[in-house]
């Protein structure tokens, strides 16, 4: 029942926004649907296929969504996925340009470097939480901005492509690139495969292993977990490192699969959108597959509406905000965070 009500609310908000932008509702919804699940017309311009954009966004949103979900399962709110994504992306862009790495290992190495960088970026906030009791939300927000300015400084001063003036790194080598999902795709790479495998692995680990049980117990009731002999501080640190690694990997995949370099203004907002993905999925890794797809479809649909009619594409942002509030108010009542 609440799910139906939620769908009804989202649909009414969408309708209202389309009406307010002066479009006919039926036509607007149809255009959004086209952008979300594929263009039926042969003469569609823009990306070859809506699936290109949807699957690309889904890859990043799934990983950042899983990042937020894993931390939340352990009772930690990682608002810092955006910063971890940036740091991971820049580290991967650096590793991807190294020469002397065997071709067969280069892609793996590049993705690992991105994940490790993201994990390291998440370490200080969780250390502050465990040792000093500092609220992780505050410290991860601070680390988002530190990451923003640090990567900006590095890409303009230290790691800039020496071949040009633009504030961007050199292109990563061919061996460090992910193949595209389909030949005519421009954005969606096999990074999606990696993300889906990780989601399934997380499902197994969180719900069918002792470690996962202890982690979730820590998040559900830290005092009870302590009393049961779980080393809760350890589980929290591990969850946060895993969370940072996933966000860093999202950045690395964006570099290896789509952009092939890091640049000034690298898209990091996926880190924040991961919060919506995780909440909508109730922090369940398998359900995150669905919510990541839904958010990506919504984004792509709103973008298509923008391209076709000029209606602001921020319709998607408003709907996302309403969705978060609804889910939080109905499903997440009285969830208390310590600190």
């Amino acid at each position: 029942m609440p799910a139906l009500l939620g769908a009804a609310i989202v649909l009414s908000v969408l309708t209202l926004l389309i009406m307010a932008s002066g479009q006919s509702v039926g036509e607007g919804l149809q255009i959004i649907l086209q952008g979300a699940i594929g263009y039926p017309r042969a003469d569609a311009y823009g990306p070859a296929d809506a699936w290109d954009a949807v699957l690309h966004d889904m890859t990043l949103l799934l990983l950042t969504g899983l990042a937020v979900a894993v931390a939340l399962q352990a009772g930690l709110f990682n608002i810092g996925a955006a910063g971890q994504l940036l740091v991971g992306a820049l580290a991967a862009a650096w590793a991807g340009t190294l020469t002397g790495v065997p071709d067969r290992l280069h892609l793996l190495l590049t993705l690992m470097v991105g994940a490790v960088a993201g994990a390291l970026w998440a370490f200080v906030p969780v250390w502050l939480k465990v040792r000093r009791g500092a609220h992780e939300v505050i410290s991860t927000i601070m680390f988002n901005y530190i990451a923003l300015y640090l990567t900006h400084w590095l890409v303009t001063e230290r790691l800039k492509d020496p071949m040009g003036d633009a504030p961007q790194t050199a292109l990563v080598l061919e061996a460090a690139r992910l193949p595209m999902l389909r030949e005519d795709f421009l954005q969606a790479s096999w990074g999606l495969g990696i993300a889906v495998v990780i989601a399934l692995w997380l499902w197994l680990t969180l719900y069918h292993s002792v470690w996962g049980y202890e982690l979730r117990l820590t998040g559900a009731n830290r005092d009870a977990a302590d009393a049961a002999g779980v080393s809760t501080a350890r589980r929290m640190v591990e969850a946060m490192l895993l969370s940072g690694a996933l966000a860093g990997l999202a950045g690395a995949i964006e570099v290896c699969g789509t952009q092939y370099r890091f640049f000034e203004g690298f898209p990091s907002e996926y880190g924040f959108d991961g919060i919506a993905v995780a909440l909508l999925a109730g922090n369940h890794p398998a359900l995150a597959l669905f919510s990541a797809w839904l958010m990506s479809a919504l984004r792509s649909g709103a973008y298509h509406l923008h391209a076709e009619t000029g209606a602001p594409k921020e319709i998607a942002v408003v709907v996302q905000a309403v969705l978060i509030l609804y889910v939080a108010a109905v499903y997440l009542r009285k969830r208390r965070l310590e600190g």
């Binding site: 200080v124 505050i138 601070m142 640090l150 942002v317 996302q320 509030l325 939080a328 997440l332 208390r336």
Partner: protein, 308 residues
């Protein structure tokens, strides 16, 4: 050195600090009654938009300020209802409000203000006139410091002292402390906890939206997409760095405003013979806050009932 650290730089620092002080004090009003407020950013942004729209449509900056405050209160009320009546997690509600403000302000800007521009009408907003200085403009240092300051800045500089006095000496202030430190005990003592929280959060909407209105009506004269540009989070950092104390928060906001002004002033010039990266200066507020969180600058003690 003389050509960098002059009255003009300090004047710019105060201007940069004004929205930070207002927003940080807004955060204080809400967090001292126990409601975490990471939605300051959204309230600044919506406040800025409402100020621009109101002033554009009526030609009066005062009406613009009024619109900003109304919208700020509305957005704050949503946060209060979500966290108190619906018992939603405070962080989640804050995230949603920031997203809502970003989406709505951009959407409405494109629908209501951009078409005016395209129709050839101006999108430049009527602004508040700066405080007249009389003969003081010619004073050394002070003249450059006070030039082009807004009365909103004066308000922002006085507000922390007013708040400190209210928090220390009035019944309301004692009640705020009671609610923020132990809401259950406060309730048994007969303090209307819910009302205190609703009012605190709504005041945060007032101050944060005034910060947004300042950006439009006193600083730039126009609305731009996402023009709050992270100020809500710097204000949050100032609130924490200043340990939830009115003077501390305002002082930290002044310091952070100074870094911004210095960064704009330097633009690659050497300082004390060193080439400082501007990114480092922009990073400083956040770095300092992390250092404070580490406990290296003394013990941090947030309101103990924060987030419940």
């Amino acid at each position: 050195m003389g050509e960098i650290f002059d009255g003009q730089l300090f004047g710019a620092a105060i201007r940069q600090a004004t929205p930070l002080i207002l927003a940080a004090l807004g955060g204080l009003m809400s967090e001292r009654v126990g409601v975490i407020n990471i939605g300051l950013e959204g309230k600044i942004l919506m406040g800025a938009f409402a100020a621009a729209l109101g002033a554009l449509l009526t030609g009066s900056p005062l009406v613009g300020l009024g619109c900003a405050i109304l919208v700020g209160i509305t957005l704050a009320l949503l946060h209060a209802v979500a966290t108190q009546a619906w018992r939603t997690d405070h962080i989640v509600s804050g995230v949603a409000i920031n997203l809502l403000a970003l989406g709505l302000s951009t959407y409405l800007f494109r629908q209501l203000i951009v078409p005016r521009e395209e129709a050839g009408q101006t999108s430049v907003v009527p602004m508040f006139a700066p405080i007249p200085l009389g003969g003081m403009e010619s004073l050394p240092l002070l003249g450059a410091l006070l030039k082009d300051q807004s009365w909103l800045t004066v308000l922002a500089l006085l507000l922390p002292f007013v708040l400190l006095a209210l928090l220390t000496y009035t019944r309301w202030g004692l009640r705020v402390n009671a609610v923020g430190n132990d809401s259950v005990k406060a309730r048994t003592m007969g303090v209307p906890v819910m009302r205190m929280r609703y009012l605190g959060v709504m005041w945060s909407g007032v101050f944060a939206s005034m910060a947004g209105a300042f950006l439009v009506l006193a600083a730039t004269g126009q609305f731009r997409e996402n023009m709050s540009a992270g100020r809500g989070f710097i204000a949050l950092a100032a609130l924490i760095f200043g340990r939830w104390h009115p003077l501390g928060a305002a002082g930290a906001a002044l310091g952070f405003g100074f870094f911004e002004a210095l960064q704009m002033r330097l633009q690659g010039q050497p300082l004390f013979g060193m080439q400082l990266p501007t990114d480092l200066l922009l990073m400083l507020p956040y770095l300092l806050t992390v250092v404070a969180l580490m406990g290296l600058l003394g013990k941090m003690k947030p309101p103990s009932d924060l987030g419940n």
